[in-house]
Amino acid sequence: MTLLWSGLALGAVYALVAIGYNIVFLSSHTFNFAQAQLVMVGTFVAYTGLVVLRLPVLVVALAATVIVMVLAGLEERFAVRPVPDHQTQLVTTLGVATLLNGATQLVWGGQPLTVPFFGGNDVVDLFGGRVYPAEIALLVLAVALVVGLSVLAKRSMLGLALMGMSEDREAAALRGVDVRKLAFWAFAASGALAGLLGLFVGPKTYAVATLGAALALKGFVALAIGGFGSLPGALIGGLTVGLVESLAARYLGAEYSNLAVFAVLLLVLMTRPSGLFGRVTERVV
């Protein structure tokens, strides 16, 4: 059970990254390669705030949210908006990801840094397994976000505008939705989320410069399993990846964990390319 908890919590991390991908994807059909790197920067900010500067948790949370939101805003303004097609956006957002990887390595070095969890580090017994408070928080957060965002998307004016924009950008613009502004704020919001997540993800994964690539890929697998644009799909996909990874590492050996996730990805792509919750759209000339 301990293993399951650990796997599920790891899965929650991937789900959270996948949710970030989805927020941007739904608003502008852009795939933000750097989403995971934004989360990674969040973990480093959390480390500096909590360990080096010993600031109060709320201040650190606010700082991480704002700093990463600004980074995401800059990314949208300079690396996404001026680029017309999605193919080139892949290249430029990958550029941002690489830049963030390199920059964090320069600032914080290559060694993993331990980020303490503000809710304590005392192991809790739950359903016959031992689980850290940070892991419970991650799971709760992932589920709450999926539920909250789904309600927001269906009930609020903002959510409806976002959905409309996702369906047909031009039509949404003609209905008075400021698509540019909305796309920007969706990007910024995904950044703010990524920054805040740093406080939760860091205790689970450490703050380390190689985190970005691993999170990016596993978050993508979560998305592929769940279907692009689907929030519940992101959650289920993420949890699946986390479990597969943990179980493979435990029973096959550490060097098999990534391979197992890759095998799952290939399996999904071959059997259900649109994911569990994805929609198949017919092509239009």
Binding site: Q87, L90, T92, G95, T98, L106, V221, L259
Partner: protein
């Protein structure tokens, strides 16, 4: 440009273009004998290796339009293949290159098939994943590969039993890289290269021309793995030591940065980008810690500002100097080509009871029509009446809910779009769909991609068959262009043409493949009077030659003057069909299509009104 400079430029342009890379290779080969030091020759060798990697990526990213990040993994596959062979005693470099290329190709195929199932970023991620897996795989086979400690004990390379010294290995590396660039160049300038650009422009266009989108993408990605495998084998024999660290994310992004810098849609851009990257930043060890930051900036700036890379800058300059030097000629008129259409083998297109619903919207309800060879069948109807939907069903872009579509008696409904196209359906698009960066003649020639086969291997080897097909392509293209009155534009960049010309180009492109049925989708809109006349004349010639033409058109006068049979659609149903004379006076058509209510009918239409009153009785 001054007069002297222009004459110099004319002289330069008189030299066959392949001479320049040849001279460059010769210079690079001679450099060591001119006293270049060890570290500099090593950098050139590494630049050649990087150029191979970048070139492979260009094939996938620049030509097939798929971002792939797995070059580093294919490179590692090649390097470990060669390294393990060498440890096992097989040191012949040719055997190693062959094996490394094959292994890399297999890795490419294996990861490309699932990776291409999803949209644009799916292959990028799947191939990127390979790079993450690399250390794990190497660790799993640790007893063979040495795991994280790396593989040592690689013996020096040999050729036909004779060991290769440093000087001769230098020559081998340069020649292998050169050989690949020749292969790459031959692929890119052949019809396959044009097919890649069509695919990159629009998968819809590609499949409407009979190109299988999936196979073509896979081909681009998997072929791109071969040079990476070769590069791996060369690298293993250069350092005689390989470890997982050489094949990480830094290398993956370095390859992409070099590709963006040199220009992804370019053959020699790969060499230039790789050379700049290797001889510039990669050389200094102090750079290593800033490498990722710099690559990141390269990718952003390259993507935003330098679209097309140095290759594009170079092409723009050449075009400008050509114009200044008065070198932009028009091809000589070809009197006997003008205006003739070869006998066309049109087939009967029969649509029977076709239904299609999008959710609750019933776009087509039991539509039937018949288009026969030697006749022009026009399809008219108000916006949203289902004309284009019907065209898309015929082409195989949508699946029919019910009904049959046959071409020459053969059922085509349910076939994928590229197979429908290969069965003989050619079409034009409402919004002309023309790939960037190719000439009018090349864009038209693309229409013949599937009508006469010439394999990629024959293009690489320039076999007699390839040359014959190429000559036939050129001949047909000349005639098709003459037919639509665009012969003098053959060498102009296709995408830069005004709208009307682009429409006529699409007609020519649809025509060169000798289709059995030709679907023209609102082909006259946006054309000026002269162009409409030329279009009408072209359609009449196609009809006279025995072609089957389906014309979707809003220009009522044009339809009346061209069509033998008119089918009128409204709200997804056929409301009338018959000869132009019948349709012109059909009251329902006038009401639905022209928005004329019976009581508004003027004198000219009184006849129609009387038909209505007779019917009403």
């Amino acid at each position: 440009m001054g007069a002297r400079l222009t004459s110099v430029w004319r002289g330069v342009r008189a030299v066959p273009p392949w001479v320049f890379p040849l001279v460059a290779v010769a210079v690079v080969l001679l450099l060591p004998t001119l006293g270049l030091g060890f570290s500099a020759t090593r950098q050139i060798q590494l630049a050649c290796v990087l150029a191979l990697l970048v070139s492979g990526l260009n094939l996938s990213l620049g030509y097939a339009g798929q971002l792939a990040l797995g070059q580093a993994a294919m490179y590692a596959a090649g390097a470990y293949t060669a390294g393990l062979m060498s440890v096992a005693g097989v040191t012949d470099i040719l055997l190693q290159l062959l094996a490394a290329g094959v292994v890399a190709l297999l890795v490419g195929l294996l990861t490309g098939v699932p990776g291409l199932r999803l949209g644009s970023w799916s292959l990028a991620m799947t191939s990127f994943f390979l790079v993450l897996l690399l250390p794990d795989v190497i660790a799993i086979f640790g007893h063979l590969t040495g795991g994280r400690n790396g593989l040592s004990g690689i013996a020096g390379p040999s050729l036909f039993g004779a060991p290769l010294g440093d000087a001769s290995y230098y020559v081998v590396i340069v020649l292998v890289a050169t050989g690949w660039f020749v292969v790459m160049r031959n692929i890119v300038v052949s019809r396959h290269g044009i097919a890649f650009r069509v695919l990159k422009q629009s998968p819809v266009l590609a499949s409407s021309m009979g190109i299988s989108v999936f196979r073509m993408k896979l081909l681009g990605y998997a072929l791109g793995a071969i040079p990476a495998g070769l590069a791996g084998a060369l690298f293993a024999n250069l350092d005689l030591y390989i470890s997982p660290e050489s094949f990480g994310f830094t290398l993956a992004t370095s390859v992409l940065a070099a590709s963006i810098l040199g220009g992804s849609t370019s053959v020699y851009g790969a060499a230039v980008g790789a050379a700049i990257m290797q001889l510039g930043p990669n050389q200094s060890t102090a750079f290593q810690q800033y490498a990722l930051v710099v690559y990141g900036v390269f990718l952003i700036v390259g993507g935003v500002l330098l679209n097309g890379g140095l290759a594009r800058v170079f092409r723009t300059l050449v075009a400008r100097w050509d114009r200044a030097a008065g070198l932009v000629g028009t091809p000589p008129p070809d009197p006997d080509a003008a205006g003739r259409v070869q006998q066309m083998h049109g087939a009967t297109l029969e649509v029977t009871g076709v239904e299609k619903a999008f959710g609750g919207n019933r776009a087509l309800r039991g539509v039937s029509l018949r288009a026969e060879p030697g006749r022009v069948t026009a399809l008219i109807g108000p916006n949203g009446s289902g004309k284009t939907t019907l065209l898309n069903m015929i082409c195989g872009f949508y699946r029919t809910d019910a009904g049959r579509i046959t071409l020459g008696g053969r059922e085509v409904q349910g076939l994928a779009a590229d197979r429908v196209a290969r069965a003989g359906v050619a079409r034009t698009f409402q919004t002309p769909n023309i790939p960037e960066g190719i000439t009018v003649a090349e864009a038209v020639a693309a229409g013949r991609y599937t009508s006469e086969r010439a394999s990629m291997l024959s293009a690489v080897l320039r076999s007699p068959r390839f040359r014959r097909v190429r000559a036939a392509d050129a001949d047909r293209v000349r005639r098709a262009l003459a037919l639509v009155g665009m012969a003098e534009l053959a060498l102009t960049e296709a995408a830069s043409l005004p709208l009307g010309m682009r429409r006529l180009l699409e007609v020519a492109r649809a025509l060169v493949g000798e289709p059995r049925v030709l679907l023209l989708d609102e082909v006259a809109s946006g054309l000026d009077e002269g162009e409409v006349e030329r279009l009408a004349a072209t359609v009449r010639r196609i009809r006279a030659a025995g072609g089957t033409v389906v014309l979707v058109e809003h220009n009522f006068d044009l339809v009346l003057s061209l069509a033998d049979e008119i089918v009128v659609l409204a709200q997804g149903e056929v409301i009338a069909h018959g000869s132009p004379e019948v349709i012109e006076h059909d009251p329902r058509v006038l009401a639905e299509y022209l928005g004329v209510r019976p009581e508004d009918l003027g004198d000219r239409l009184a006849e129609g009104a009387s038909v209505l009153s007779q019917e009403g009785r």
